[in-house]
């Protein structure tokens, strides 16, 4: 899961970055509304964590602006403003959830995963593709009931493809989701991750659509003689 954290306080932001990384999230952090606009224009993210009191403007104004521009990414407001009218304003401005500081990291990640799940049209936290099961929050991947260890990037890539439900995703979009603002990405990094996924799971888990991008392959077929 790729999270864009918009938070001006360095201490809170560093805690969020370190904490969300524990839950297999890719985190990009910006500190101002201006940087947030640029980040959102530059790459897509799965979910946004938005602080309201930004140095160069109000987070609510930024959120309203995004919603007017049809930016559909789920937004969770993370703030110290606890008044009911603030919560109502936040939700009316287009927020999908409202969490007060200080928060519990477990709860926050659970809420973020729930937002991404709902945005993908799923009702359960597990993502199933035949015998391939992914639990995004814990990062567990099961194939034929056996755990498979994937790196954070590989997991994020697989999750994105599974959430796309067979739709083709361009390489750029996948890269944005995986690396965010990290500019120091090797040109063949995506191919390496896809290669690892095919090796660790099964060969047709990712289908290359030449000139277009990649999509999730058909569900895994149990190897002959293995299930007897």
């Amino acid at each position: 899961m790729h999270v864009l954290v918009i938070e001006d306080d360095d201490l809170v932001a560093s805690g969020l970055e370190a904490g969300l990384a524990l839950y297999h999230c890719t985190v990009d952090r910006v500190r101002t509304a201006r940087e947030a606009r640029a980040a959102m224009d530059q790459f897509g993210c799965d979910v946004v964590v938005l602080d309201l009191g930004l140095p160069d403007g109000d987070g609510l104004a930024l959120l309203s602006e995004w919603r007017q521009r049809d930016v559909a990414a789920p937004v969770l407001i993370l703030t110290a403003r606890d008044a009911v009218e603030d919560r109502v304003k936040g939700l009316e401005a287009g927020a999908d959830d409202y969490v007060l500081k200080p928060f519990d990291l477990d709860e926050l990640t659970a809420r973020l995963h729930a937002l991404v799940r709902r945005a993908a049209g799923r009702t359960v936290s597990e993502v199933k593709h035949g015998e391939l099961i992914v639990q995004p929050r814990s990062g567990k991947v099961m194939l034929y009931g056996k755990p498979v260890h994937l790196s954070r990037r590989e997991l994020a890539l697989l999750e994105r493809l599974m959430n796309a439900r067979g739709a083709v995703l361009s390489e750029e979009r996948l890269k944005d989701g995986l690396y965010g603002m990290d500019a120091s990405v090797e040109s063949n990094a995506m191919n390496v991750h896809i290669h690892h996924l095919r090796r660790k799971l099964y060969r047709h888990v990712v289908i290359t659509e030449r000139g277009l991008g990649y999509r999730l392959g058909p569900p895994p077929v149990e190897p002959e003689g293995d299930g007897s």
Binding site: D9, L11, V12, G15, L16, A18, G19, A83, L105
Partner: protein, 431 residues
């Protein structure tokens, strides 16, 4: 008792007393006039009889056989004519013999046959002419006069009281409207009251009331903002501490050490916020802060010591020997908060200019001027450091210090796209 009833009671009582006094005076005057008139009637009657007798003395001679001079009804003026020896020569019917015998000349009042009579006796040529009327008849007349006076007076009085009640009620109507508005409103409602066609006497009351509502609303808004700021200032480092401790529990080695270091930073921030709140509390309890002055240069050093991003601050101190009439700790806190605010809400450098050459002549004496100038964030909707809507406690504390020590704080947008904060602190006279 309501104002309306009180007014009605006092004005009605005064009204009633005046009217009754006037009525009583008129009655007594009229009663005396009527009595005098009736007395004059008795005297005139006696004089008329005397005139008749003088013109026709044979009347007395013929009266021996028929002494009845007049035959009045049971009521009216009675008359008796006596000779020098006291014999009755002539009298009206109903007048008992000898009854009026001993009447002396002039007016007198006597009880005759259980009734009070008013007599007038005139002596003429050895004859005594006495005229008389019953006092009961005079009482009936007096009662008639009272009745004639009382009914219109009573009606006028009642009418006057009704008019008075109507006038008072109409006059106090704006007060009633004001009372109803105040009674109906909820304690949270601080909207101004409106009284249509308020009289000039009530207008200042309504105006003062509305100003009071406005001040209360402003104070409540400020307190709410302050509470929000305090909540923000407390919750932010607390969030950092909690998150980093959570991370520290889940990792080991270098990441764990880093998380613990970050948590400690949060504790330091929390401590700073607590100290500022305590300072604020002490300032609210006036007297706990010593009113001593300080050298501004020392306070500036204190303010900038350990400041994160100290390299972004350009200090221009043109007032190195200046002493301000504010404690050093507070000056340091004020400057630190202003610089913090400027650094947090802008990019690039921030200027801190201290100047006491251009002394501001105010009623409080010369002041040292401090300018904190930032350059804002290019391209952002807001320019520069924030004003009273800030989430921090810094600016409320600056305002409080400035107000308590007779200083001033103003802010304005500058040409660089940021804000200039102009702080004025009173200089010590020994400067």
């Amino acid at each position: 008792m309501s104002l309306q009833r009180r007014l009605l009671w006092s004005l009605g009582s005064a009204f009633l007393l005046l009217w009754l006094s006037v009525a009583a005076l008129m009655y007594f005057h009229l009663d005396r006039q009527v009595s005098q008139t009736l007395d004059q009637r008795l005297a005139a009657s006696a004089t008329m009889v005397a005139g008749l007798i003088a013109g026709q003395p044979e009347m007395l001679m013929s009266s021996r056989s028929s002494p009845l001079l007049v035959s009045p009804e049971s009521e009216g003026v009675a008359c008796q004519i006596r000779g020098a020896s006291g014999e009755v020569l002539l009298q009206t019917s109903g007048v008992e013999d000898q009854v009026l015998n001993d009447a002396r000349p002039g007016f007198s009042t006597r009880e005759i046959g259980g009734q009070q009579w008013r007599l007038y006796t005139l002596e003429q040529s050895g004859t005594f002419i006495t005229t008389a009327d019953r006092m009961s008849e005079r009482a009936v007349l007096a009662n008639g006069i009272i009745l004639v006076m009382v009914v219109p007076f009573a009606l006028a009085l009642l009418g006057g009281l009704v008019v008075l009640w109507w006038g008072i009620r109409g006059g106090l109507r704006p007060l009633e409207v004001l009372r109803d508005q105040l009674r109906r409103r909820t304690p949270e409602n601080l909207d101004p009251v409106t009284v249509d066609r308020a009289p000039s006497e009530l207008a200042p009351v309504v105006e003062t009331l509305n100003e009071l509502f406005n001040r209360v609303a402003t104070t409540l808004a400020w307190e709410k903002r302050f509470a929000n700021s305090a909540a923000h200032e407390f919750r932010t480092p607390l969030t950092g501490i909690k998150t980093h401790l959570h991370v520290a529990r889940r990792v080991s080695g270098e990441p764990q050490q880093q998380a613990l270091v970050n948590a400690e930073k949060g504790v330091a921030q929390l401590q700073s916020v607590t100290e500022q709140l305590l300072l604020l509390s002490r300032m609210e309890r006036k007297g706990e802060i010593a009113r001593e002055g300080c050298l501004i240069a020392q306070a500036v050093d204190d303010a900038l010591e350990g400041l994160p991003e100290r390299e972004r601050v350009r200090l221009d101190n043109r007032c190195k020997e200046g002493r301000v009439a504010v404690p050093r700790t507070l000056v340091a806190v004020v400057l630190r908060n202003l610089v913090d605010n400027a650094l947090k809400h802008s990019v690039g450098t921030c200027d801190l200019v201290l100047d006491c050459s251009d002394l501001q002549a105010t009623s409080g004496g010369p002041q040292l001027r401090v300018t904190v100038r930032d350059r804002g964030v290019p391209g952002s909707s807001d320019s520069g450091s924030v004003g009273s809507q800030s989430h921090g406690l810094g600016l409320p504390i600056v305002h409080m210090v400035v107000n308590q020590f007779g200083g001033a704080l103003e802010s304005e947008h500058n040409e660089a796209g940021g804000m200039d904060w102009q702080l004025a602190l009173p200089l010590l006279s020994t400067c």
